[in-house]
């Protein structure tokens, strides 16, 4: 029954390519650090790593467990990577969209980065053990609807051929269609129930590359815009703020959903916003730097049917 098993054989070659490029870059001093993935303690698992010496290059890997969006380590709010030279970073297609978004919002400069692109078949869902085989069942939901298996515009893209990819049914699109078909009251009830679970840990904010504000509006108390305690009104306010602030920006890496301890389908909300943006403004997160996002631009072609 290996009909569902996905061919991830290219990852060996990708890992090799990342290692040799990292060695070359750090030895030549072309970059001061490289952000990538390394094996973690549990069998098959991976975790982000920041290396500064070519001696550590062999630690770098790429496997189906490399789920994290490393772009978050380059944002001001998280300040993990000290500035001082070019930064090398390993990026999947979805992560690259985030970096491109950050460039469009004056947070990063392309010339300060060395992008090591990863041809990606998919990564594992956060709900399965890291050593699990990558199959049509165990693949992350975001990868089922991925349009960015091959990043473009990188400084290095390992020369491998992507295996034929099976057409997988989109879970987000199916769920969005189901919710859209519901009457507003039931749809509202669904989200109310989801938001009621929130414990306001703000993990979704901390992991999101686009939550780069040094002082989040939700942490301010003059005036108190969003109730700080995990109560229904404040929870809903937070999730609406989050969804609205990500509309027209979200790269779809689904990290928010992965880290949510309460299993709130956060990326479902993000996908819905993305769908609206696509329909209203023909906008999609991509590999091209956009100086002006769809929600900060006015054109005469904009839909005005909401003006009654």
């Amino acid at each position: 029954m290996n009909i569902h098993v996905l061919d991830k054989s290219i990852y060996t070659a990708v890992t090799e390519a990342i290692r040799s490029e990292a060695t070359r870059l750090l030895t030549a001093g072309d970059v001061t650090v490289i952000v990538g993935y390394a094996a973690a303690r549990r069998k098959g698992s991976a975790q982000p790593i920041v290396i500064t010496s070519s001696a550590d290059a062999d630690k770098l890997i790429f496997t189906p467990a490399c789920v994290n969006n490393l772009a978050v380590y380059l944002t001001k709010a998280k300040k993990e990577i000290p500035k001082g030279g070019k930064i090398g970073i390993v990026v999947k297609g979805c992560d690259l969209k985030a970096l491109v978004g950050l460039m469009g919002e004056s947070q990063l400069k392309r010339e300060e980065l060395y992008l090591i692109g990863v041809p990606c078949v998919g990564v594992l869902a956060s709900t399965v053990q890291p050593a699990t085989e990558l199959t049509a069942e165990t693949i992350a939901s975001k990868c089922r609807e991925c349009d960015a298996h091959l990043p473009s515009g990188c400084d290095l893209l390992p020369n491998v051929v992507l295996p034929p990819m099976p057409q997988l049914e989109g879970k987000y699109s199916a769920e969005i269609a189901r919710l859209e078909a519901l009457p507003p009251a039931e749809r509202w009830a669904f989200w109310k129930e989801q938001f009621a679970k929130c414990i306001k840990c703000y993990a979704c904010r901390q992991v999101c590359p686009f939550c780069f504000c040094e002082q989040c509006l939700c942490d301010r108390n003059k005036p108190q815009m969003v109730d700080t305690t995990p109560r229904p009104a404040g929870n809903t306010a937070w999730h609406i703020v989050r969804a609205m602030h990500l509309a027209g920006r979200c790269a779809g890496c689904a990290e928010c959903e992965r880290v949510c301890p309460m299993d709130i389908p956060l990326n479902l909300l993000n996908r819905k916003m993305a769908k609206e943006l696509k329909e209203l403004f023909d906008y999609e997160a991509g590999f091209e730097v956009n100086e002006k996002g769809p929600l900060s631009t006015y054109t005469e072609k904009d839909d005005q049917s909401f003006i009654k």
């Binding site: 001001k76 919002e105 947070q107 040094e214 002082q215 301010r220 996002g293 900060s296």
Partner: protein, 665 residues
């Protein structure tokens, strides 16, 4: 601890009829922070203001709320009074209990409770008000006038006569505009050229006016008092300093059959030309599209015959940057070309009237050129088709104008009067001819206007037929005009020799592009919008930019000249001070929270947001944040709505103030 004073106005009976003002005063007196509250019949009156000032001093008040009319009405009045009593004027707020309360409600009890809420909100808001210092910006006392028609000429002369330098930019090779094309002018029938050309010469000779003809506005940057304007001076191919205007080049140019736009294309000109003999400057320009030299590289006769050697085929377009403090826009109008439907325009054409197909169906401006002594026929009314004198002439009014079904709903204002004038000019020149006018209404308000119109009927024998024309067609050398006379209720058919259409007055082509460069607003027809239809008719909503003439809406000459002088007066008001004071309602960045995403910069319509580097004492860059230039900021608050971390706020309208108001409810 704030000691807030609240002053409730009766506004005669406007407020007190519906709102129990005494109860509002006593209720609000109990509100925390309110030290004094009272009511008065007319708070804006002299005794009312005295009461306010006295209370500030006697009660040692720190913040003021005046509950009265809309702040648009009297905010300035009360802030001035508060300032006179020694408080910062921005510690005074108005609670609108007239437009927002007494005028829109009938139930006294409910209106009173609402008034208490409105005042309570403003009390909570004023507690959060900060002292705002007045912002001053320098003023460059030079002005730019765009358009060299009568409006631009008048505005330029008025400003220059006050001793300030004026840059006058005209797109065509000569100033003069449409007025220079007219034969006679209503209601006095004085020759347009006779009254226009001296003004044109005054412009050319004025030491304070710098004239750029054959030039266009390329880019406008900056703000009131401090604009930088890039002007594109198109290559004239003739050196203006060397040319003496002798005109030999024009007499020798072999290209003699180019339709002259100034003569509505019925007269011809050469490839090197001045549009009309009285042109200012009297320097020819080479029309490179039609010049043999530029088309084939051969000829060059004009260069050979030019004594001073002024003809320069190598001349290039030049960009010139001028610094000015004020801009007068006077780009004028164009007549709607009715033959064809403009591409992409909601306005439909009048193909059924044969304009463009039947040569003797002309528009009003073409008739002006026929009637003009300096026109292509030397002032004789002759048919373009065969040069015969028309013995029956039909004028049709409201072509385009007031025709909602054709896409234009407005009245072009000048056509009733100029058609009356045309019938007179025709009668003066063709004694045995008969003029007919098809009209909807004759709109003749204005000094001596109705008398003028009556004269065309009673003395000059024009026949006015109330009704519209349904169809025109050529029959032999006649044009059959079929229409209805709704006064009598009969169909009318006239075999005319010539038909003159009073086509709609439209803004100049490209008016929208210029508006976008200037950052001013325009309506759906592309007429420029004034800041207030009644009280600020010559100012744009964008500070430092003023309007004159038909670019703002259809206008006749007297009205255009008045508006041009008014715009000049506004410019002079601006130039009367060395520094410009402006309301300090501007956005301010909270740098500690700003993460430098510049979402604010992307949405700012005024270009007020700049990038500012923050460095430590050693000079290391810490971060780049947004900075609002207070001279440019218009206080619209778009940045505040856009900032994801709420790190930019509009002074006087901070989130804290707004939330305080909501919480007071």
């Amino acid at each position: 601890m704030s000691r807030i004073g609240v002053f409730i106005c009766h506004c005669g009976e406007n407020i007190s009829r519906t709102v129990d003002v005494e109860r509002v005063a006593s209720e609000i007196g109990k509100h925390p922070g309110v030290a004094f509250s009272t009511d008065y019949k007319y708070m804006c009156s002299d005794p009312g203001q005295t009461l306010l000032k006295k209370a500030i001093q006697e009660q040692k008040l720190t913040h003021i709320v005046v509950a009265a009319c809309s702040p648009r009405m009297h905010e300035k009045t009360f802030r001035k009074a508060v300032e006179a009593a020694g408080l910062n004027p921005f510690l005074c707020e108005m609670a609108n209990i007239r437009e927002h309360c007494s005028w829109v409600h009938e139930n006294r009890e409910e209106a009173t409770l609402k008034a208490i809420d409105i005042v309570g909100m403003m009390v909570e808001r004023v507690k959060k008000n900060r002292i705002l210092p007045t912002i001053t910006v320098p003023v460059t006392k030079r002005s730019l006038v765009i358009g060299g028609g009568i409006a631009g000429i008048q505005a330029a002369l008025d400003i220059a006569d006050c001793g300030h330098e004026v840059i006058l930019v005209e797109r065509e090779p000569s100033i003069g505009g449409h007025m220079a094309q007219l034969s006679e002018t209503f209601p006095t029938l004085d020759c347009s050229q006779c009254i226009m050309t001296p003004k044109m010469v005054d412009v050319a000779n004025h030491p304070k006016i710098k004239l750029y003809t054959y030039s266009e506005i390329e880019l406008v940057e900056g703000y009131i008092g401090n604009f930088q304007v890039t002007i594109k001076k198109k290559a004239r191919s003739v050196d203006e300093d060397k040319c003496t205007g002798c005109g030999v080049c024009m007499t020798k140019c072999p290209q003699k059959k180019i339709p002259n736009k100034f003569d509505q294309n019925i007269g011809m000109r050469t490839a090197i030309y001045v549009p009309f003999p009285q042109a200012v400057p009297n320097t020819p320009v080479i029309d490179r599209e039609n010049c043999t030299w530029f088309k084939t590289g051969k000829c060059g006769i004009c260069q050979k015959v030019c004594g001073p050697g002024a003809v320069d085929f190598e001349q290039q377009d030049r960009l010139i940057v001028e610094a000015v403090g004020a801009i007068v826009v006077a780009t004028g109008f164009d007549l709607y070309s009715i033959a064809e439907k403009p591409k992409g325009s909601p306005i439909k054409g009048y193909g059924e009237f044969g304009h463009g197909k039947i040569p003797d169906v002309i528009d009003g401006m073409t008739f002006e050129r026929l009637a003009s002594a300096s026109g292509p026929t030397g002032g004789r009314i002759l048919r373009p088709s065969d040069g015969k004198e028309p013995k029956q002439i039909v004028f049709i009014q409201c072509i385009g104008s007031r025709a909602r079904e054709k896409g234009i709903s407005y009245c072009s204002k000048v056509c009733c009067m100029y058609t009356a004038k045309h019938t007179m000019l025709y009668h003066h020149k063709v004694h045995d001819g008969q003029a007919y006018v098809f009209f909807m209404d004759a709109r003749t308000p204005g000094k001596s206007y109705d008398e003028f119109w009556r004269r065309s009927i009673e003395e000059e024998e024009a026949v006015y037929i109330r009704g519209m024309v349904s169809r025109l067609y050529q029959k032999g050398d006649k044009i059959v005009v079929m229409g209805s006379d709704i006064a009598v209720g009969v169909q009318v058919e006239i075999e005319a020799d010539m038909v003159v259409l009073a086509t709609a007055v439209m803004p100049q082509k490209g008016a929208d592009t210029l508006a976008q460069k200037l950052g001013i607003s325009y309506d759906k027809y592309h007429f420029y919008s004034e800041a207030h239809a009644k009280l600020r008719p010559v100012e744009c909503a964008t500070a430092g930019i003023y309007l004159a003439g038909a670019c703002q809406g259809p206008k006749d000459i007297p009205e255009t000249v008045s508006q041009a002088s008014a715009a000049a007066a506004k410019v002079m008001t601006l130039f009367s001070k060395d520094k410009l004071e402006r309301e300090p309602i501007v956005a301010r960045v909270r740098e500690i929270g700003c993460v430098g995403c510049f979402a604010c910069k992307k949405v700012c319509a005024y270009g007020a947001i700049e990038e500012k580097e923050i460095r430590d004492r050693q000079g290391n860059l810490i971060k780049v944040v947004a900075y609002v230039n207070p001279g440019v900021c218009a206080g619209c608050g778009t940045c505040q709505a856009t900032c994801p971390s709420k790190s930019v706020e509009l002074d006087g309208y901070t989130d804290e103030q707004i939330v305080a108001m909501i919480e007071a409810l």
